[in-house]
Amino acid sequence: MSKHSEHGPHAHSYSIYILVWLALMILTGVTVAVAGINFGSLTVATALLIASVKTYLVLTIFMHLRVEQKVFKVFVFVAFLFFLISIVLLFSDYSFM
């Protein structure tokens, strides 16, 4: 087994983190700017969509998922899938009350 895979991923440089940070800051600015405009029911959806993009960036780059073994990605995917299922079931219940 190589030292690389045993001790963890080494693939990230300083610059990619700074780029991701810039993207996160810009997306924060966009969320704040967009919140002022009224899209009606789409306002919340837009905010959540931007938050999801930010989360994706943090998970893949800051939390190293991009260079992590496949099993980690499957784990996180399954966790989020069940979270999503829960919220869909919850709202399908409340929407018809």
Partner: protein, 208 residues
């Protein structure tokens, strides 16, 4: 390779860094359930009290919220940079980034302190007469606000302590360029705290 192993046979300590990181991820999933439940609660109550939530959210200061978001995102950056630094054997740089992370986290909590005390001065806190006089939807909004940002704040404090311990470990050489899984685990925790805030921020501060 076998010669290499033989040479280090005395110093060999069993280590499973992948297992260590996986354990941390499993813990983070329990955090997802903890905060997830609160987000579900928020979603349902907001769905049932839309007008009241909009009204109540006007009390929150978007400026402080945005500023705190920027602080937390930047602290996530410095945390990630500290791991790259230790991977490259720059011990001092790694310690520097870790200390910057702690200072930024402290800044976040100071802002939070002023934000909460201002609310308290306005008479808005759980169980206050002023709040109880408002509609049930507004009471729910502030109840959720205090519980969710409070629990998040607690996580920030725990994160600060954790990173502080890591800084000591790095200084003593327990965390080094060959073995830094502890620092990575602290980093994973810190990024999760960041992700939770990424959702808390628009859901509480940006409903107008």
């Amino acid at each position: 390779m076998s010669v290499h192993v033989h040479e280090h046979a005395h110093a060999h300590v069993h280590r499973d860094d992948i297992g260590g990181r996986m354990g941390m991820w499993l813990f983070l999933f329990t955090e997802l359930i903890l905060f997830g439940g609160l987000f579900f609660l928020y979603a349902v109550y907001r769905f049932m009290n839309q007008e009241d939530f909009h009204l109540a959210a006007k009390e929150l200061n978007t400026m402080i919220g945005t500023f705190n978001t920027a602080i937390l995102l930047t602290s996530s950056l410095t945390m990630a940079l500290s791991i790259t630094a230790i991977q490259r054997n720059s011990k001092k740089l790694s310690i520097f980034f870790q200390i910057v992370t702690i200072v930024l986290a402290l800044g976040f909590m100071v802002n939070k302190y002023f934000e909460w005390t201002t609310k308290f001065h306005h008479g808005i806190y759980p169980g206050s007469e002023e709040l109880l006089a408002q509609s049930s939807g507004q009471i729910l909004f502030f109840g959720l606000y205090y519980v969710m940002t409070g629990l998040h704040g607690l996580h920030v404090i725990i994160g600060m302590v954790l990173i502080g311990v890591m800084t000591r470990f790095t200084a003593k050489g327990i965390v080094n360029s060959d073995s830094y899984v502890k620092l990575e685990a602290a980093g994973l925790y810190w990024h999760l705290v960041d992700i939770i805030w990424i959702f808390l921020f628009p859901l509480f501060y940006l409903i107008t």
